[in-house]
Structures are given as C-alpha cells and as structure tokens.
Symmetry: C2
Subunit: 409 residues, 2 copies
C-alpha cells in the first residue's frame, strides 16, 4: 500500500493512513506500506539546499532528501502503534533496496527484503521509506521523480506480494481526463503496454518507471483512491481471455514545446549532430519530423518538455553555426493528443479514423508520431479540449451515463 506526500501531510492524515493499514491487517492480510515525504517537505529541503549551495552536490542532496521519507515512516509507525497495532519502519537502505550510484536518479539493481519477511511473519505492519535506497558501498541514493511508486512496485516484486496498491487523489485511470471529457470512464483493467503508453503520453496517475518495473516483474498494480474504498484500476499482464479494446484511452499533454530549425543543409550527419548535442544537454526529445527539403535545405522539427527549453536554446546556440542552419523558432502553444490501446495493433483503420475525426472537428495536425499501440498528434493548444472530446466519442469511450461531478484524472 503506497501513499504519497499529500496522504501523510499532517498528523491527522497519518492517523487516517494508519487506520487503513490496521483495517487491512485486521482483515487477515500481511501489510507493507510505502510512504513519501510529508506534504511539501522535499521541496522545502531543496529550497534550503539551494540557499546554501546554488548547485547542491547530488550525493549530499540525496543525503538531505532521504530524511523526508524517514520522518514519515517513523511517524506513521508511531501512529499505528498509538492505535494499538504493531508496526516497524525501515529506511530504503535498511530494507535492502540496492541501487546504482547515480545520485538523484538511481536505478534499483537488487532487493533483499529479508527483514520485511521477518517482520511480517512476526505479525507486524511494515512501513518502508519510498524514493530511497543505497549503493553496495552503503551510499544513500534517491530514485528521482515517481521514486516512491517505484519503491512500492519493486518491494512488491521482492516479497512476491499479491498486489501493489498505489493510493492517489483520483480513483483510478480514466479513458480521458474527466475535467475535459465529462463522459470519461474509469478503466477497470488494463495491461502494462497501453498503461505505459498512457503514462508516456500525458496520463499522470502512475509513473512510467513504476509501470515498466511492474511489467518486467509481473507485479499487479491496483491504482485507487486514498479517500474511498472504491475499486480503482488494475494494471496487470494481458490475459489470453482479456479482450483488448481497440482504443483504451485518449490522453493529452500540454507540457511540450515544438522547436523548428529552419534552413538546415540537407547533408548526411547534420541531424545526428543536432540530436547528439541535445542528448548531451540532457534534453528529452520526443517527436522528430524532418520536413520535405527544398533547394538542398530542410526544416527539422522536434518536441521537448517545456521545462527543458533553457537547455534546448543553449544547445542549439552552440551548434547552429557549425551545422549551417538559418534559424530556429520555438512554439510552446501546442498540445499533444494521443490515442492508446493494445487493440490498435491488430485493427486496421485506426490511424485513418483518428485523422478523419480531427479533421471533422476542424483540428489541424502539425506533427504525428506512432507506436504499435499509440498514435500521437501535435495540434494547437486551444483546440486540445475539442480534439480530446471528439476522439473519446469517435472511439466509443463515452460513458452512457455522464457523471456530472467527475473526479479529475
């Protein structure tokens, strides 16, 4: 049972989480909880670090940030004990979450959860700090964004848990964002591949990394609400008898920008030069399109997260002269809409239907990218909501009864 920072932000909420753990334990289940730092603690610690050192060394930043989750687990264990049940807390290093040595975004390489098994066998509720681990040398590391979800999934794999429940402020994964599409429906079951594509294309409920880890270790995830007992969305391996919907969901992403480099000489190796420079600058390039060339010149467009734009401009400034391009321009008034579904692989005509639907809605498509189970289009930002709604209806995802007070996805 994994709870995020909002769920443990105050003593009162910690008590509520404790009550949930105890109820499950009393029902006869063995319970392991993974928790994040309380509320905005991580951000506060980062601000303090930057006040002292504008570029905090990452080893020391991990040393600092790891305290956030350590406070949460100690307090949650106290809350469980105050309510009369037995609990024990473990830090990531203690629980045997071994990572590589890449501070601030370490990857889990091994799990030795022996102490968890012992505590469970002793009837204790086990509470583990998310987001953190240790190297084989005993260095403290953190797992980066979405790290607590990854801890939960990895631990579930390590102890062969029946299910990894990820508690969030929404009650599951939806066919689209209910704030945009009132007719959006909660997805009851989805397999890893489409869930991964959804996470990659803007659905923010589960982090890509945790879904990837779950897929690689066949961990069943139950994504559900912290506030209700309603069943949420189950993410698990595709079953032979699981009839895949052609399209499972329509996702959107307003966080990208389109960069176009104009007048690039149409020579071998130029594109490689541009994108290796961007990769060196740690820019997460998503879609890439090279337009039809004219007079030995071509235009290269790509998308990247808006948060990477300062690195994009630095990188391009550095290589423009060398590649002999004319200029580059940024358009951050764009949106990406995607349709995702494992069924798309085997159904012809999905691409045509998407384009026709957008055309009928008067939406102009700027860039296109595809995967076997996803189709994404870059469009103008102000047409995003219309596009998402039109696609949701066209692919038969609308609920029959529209929920008026929809929960945001």
């Amino acid at each position: 049972m994994k709870f995020g920072g909002t769920s443990v932000a105050t003593p009162q909420r910690l008590r509520a989480v404790a009550a949930r753990l105890i109820a499950r334990h009393d029902a006869g289940d063995e319970v392991v909880a993974v928790v994040s730092a309380m509320g905005k603690v991580t951000d506060d610690l980062l601000a303090l670090a930057h006040e002292i050192n504008p570029e905090p060394p990452e080893r020391e930043q991990d040393m600092l940030l790891a305290t956030g989750e350590q406070v949460s687990i100690a307090l949650l264990a106290m809350a469980v004990q105050a309510a009369g049940a037995d609990a024990i807390s473990f830090t990531g290093p203690q629980v045997g979450i071994v990572t590589d040595a890449v501070h601030s975004k370490a990857k889990i390489v091994a799990i030795d959860a022996a102490c968890v098994g012992e505590a469970l066998a002793a009837g204790q509720i086990v509470i583990v700090a998310g987001f953190q681990g240790r190297t084989t040398d005993g260095e403290i590391t953190t797992l980066g964004r979405g790290g607590s979800d990854t801890t939960a999934v990895a631990l579930a794999a390590g102890i062969a848990a029946d299910v990894c429940e990820i508690y969030t402020d929404v009650d599951g994964v939806y066919t689209a964002d209910p704030r945009i599409v009132p007719a959006a429906q909660k997805i009851d079951v989805i397999s890893y591949e489409p869930m991964l594509e959804m996470a990659a294309s803007g659905a923010g409920v589960l982090s890509m990394r945790s879904v990837e880890f779950a897929r690689n270790h066949a961990v069943t995830i139950h994504c559900r609400s912290s506030f209700t007992d309603t069943t949420g969305t189950i993410v698990k391996e595709a079953q032979p008898d699981m009839e895949d919907a052609i399209v499972s969901a329509v996702t959107h992403d307003r966080g990208e920008a389109k960069i176009t480099i104009r007048g690039v000489p149409d020579r071998v190796g130029i594109a490689a030069r541009v994108f290796s420079t961007l990769a060196d600058a740690n820019v997460n390039v998503d879609m890439i399109i090279q337009n039809i060339s004219e007079e030995k010149k071509t235009d290269i467009s790509f998308t990247a997260p808006q948060t990477d734009l300062h690195r994009v401009t630095q990188a391009l400034d550095a290589c423009m002269a060398e590649i002999g391009a004319r200029e580059w321009v940024i358009d951050d008034d764009i949106a990406k809409v995607s349709i995702v579904g494992a069924g798309m692989k085997t159904h012809a005509g999905v691409t045509a239907k998407m384009f026709q639907t957008l055309a009928d809605a008067g939406v102009n498509i700027d860039l296109i990218s595809t995967s076997p189970i996803r189709l994404s289009c870059i469009i103008a930002a102000d047409q995003m909501d219309d596009a998402v709604r039109a696609l949701h209806t066209a692919f038969g995802l609308d609920a029959t009864d529209v929920i008026e007070e929809a929960t945001p996805c």
Copy 2:
C-alpha cells in the same frame, strides 16, 4: 571539531562553520567535523511525535530524531563545497558508530571509522552526524543527551585524532560561573577526574559521558568558543609534571530537589526497598542521608533532579504504605555547591576549610556528600551565590584582575 545545534541553526551559521573547517584544512590539518541537528529541530520533531503518539516507541523515535543530524551534515557539506573545498558527509551508521540496542540512550560499543580515513586521505573534509549510531543488526539508535559530544570524542578515539575540539557558546571551563563570580578564571588545563566531577556537580560545558569516554580512551579535549579563536580549556590525562591545584573549581546546581521521608521504621531492608523502587522508576538519586533515629523511627533524605519529581512522587506513593512511613515532603528551594580538585586527595583540611568558609558566610549546610576529589553541600537556594563566591575566594581561585564583562560559564 564538534559544533552544537546553535552553531548550525541557520544557513548563515552553517557557512560560518564551513569557513572555520576550510581555514583549518587549508592550514594543513586533516579535519573531521561532528554536528548536531539545526537549532530546535530535535525539539520540534519530538513535539510532532508526541502529537501523534503520547508515548512514542523509542525505536521509531530514534528513526525520527536521527533525521535532524542528517539534514545538518548534508547542508554543511554543501556549504563547504559552495566555498570551494571538498567535503563528504556520513551518518552515524555509515561511519561505523556501533552501539548497543538501547534506543534513545544507546552506548557506543565499537567504531569502525575506515571510511573516515579514506576520505581524509583523499583530502576531503569529513562531516559526521552526531548523536546517532547503529546496532550490529542495522537498527538506527541515538545516544541521548550530550550524544553529539560523545560521538566527537569516540570518533577522535577511533581515528587517533590529535585533539577533539568541542565548540560551544563559552570560551572554556571556568573556576566558577562568571555570572556569579566575576573573579572566575578560565582553566587552561585540567585532567579528566576533576573535569568529570565538575560535569557531575553542575558545570554544564561538557557532558559527563563525553569526558568519561575521553578518559577511557585518552582523548584530549579542547573546549573552546565558536565565536572566537581564543584557546579554551584543554582536558587531558594528568601529567607527572602537572601540579594539581588543591581545588580547581567551585560548581553549583540549582536543578535538584530534596525529598525527605519522615517516620520510617528503623528496620533492615526498608531503605533498600525505597531506593530500589526509585531506581525502577528511573529516578536519578544523587545524595542520600539517613538522619539519627529516635523511637525506632528515622528520617531518610535524598536529592534528585527536579525533572524527575513526578516519577519520585509516583514511586513513593506506591511504596509508602508498604514501608510504614509517616509522610514525605519535597523541598525544591535548595542548591548544591561543590568544590572539585584532584589535589584534594592529598591535602588534609579541605573539608574543614569548606565548612568554616560557609559558616563564616552565614550559610547553613543541610546535606553533605563527598568523593576523593569533590565535596558537595546542599544549602538554601537563596544563599547559593554568596556560598559560591565565598568558596571561590577562600580557595584562592579569584583572578587578580577581575574581568568586568565576563563570559558566562
């Protein structure tokens, strides 16, 4: 170099400590710093714990409190690096401070400071979290009050440091509290035994535990000011050529209370029953006096810290009927004044001189306790200052030139 919570309470002060470490490093010394949690962080964490659980389990309390020092070391390492020097931080568990499993007041049983040696050899300033360690099972423990001083002394022993500098808000150990005795002098050198007795009888600069540890491992302590570069007080093994002053210092303690049990049957085992009950209740009994009995009844008086009084009353309520005593009364309007000095062992007449001095000053002595190098008297609280001044003068401790703006001891 050990710095307490006040010295690292803000980013600005952390930078000042960093500058001090770097200056020493630049001067050619190998530097290990031990730091406490920032300012009131430990108290704040304890308050949070008590909000969640009125009786926080000690294992989880240690898990919680250990985060305070971990934040300090990370930030201090960042501050050193921001100033251009190289630094690395270690938690108590990482640095190999192995303790017993008595949570919240663990005792150090072993130190394996290999990683400190490696970091020093690599030219790094090493920053270690005070107050914490781990058991052989990897459980996180804390060392209790004065724990960071103990960490510093233990680490100094573990790496065979030349000296363990303990930075504080006073500039050394004084012959008496300068707030009471303007003629008090800073002690340049003192051996472990009298320093221990001073710590035990009210001089608060160094904790008893750290001095005890230093004595057992022959660690030289330099107790000095965080704010100046003045030499402070050196605490080290008595040297053959070190002429001990008869009396090194006059100490006082206003934190005790006297409890008198009246009408106790004068039978074997009664006193044992009283004090074993108090010991079970974790009361720190200091002086014990059994008055002359009359009519097979006797009065038993003892002193204990005022902070233990609620436990004293609970314990006595529980056993009064059983021992058949009449009543008990508490007097917390008392003070303990002591004279301490390794030279007392070999000089006759010190006791007589103390009593005569107090008599001359019109001070009535209530209880007396002695050790080979200390003499303590319980007197009325309102006579404490006069008594301390009279003793300081009588034993030749007054400075010739009275410092007007004396630093508090």
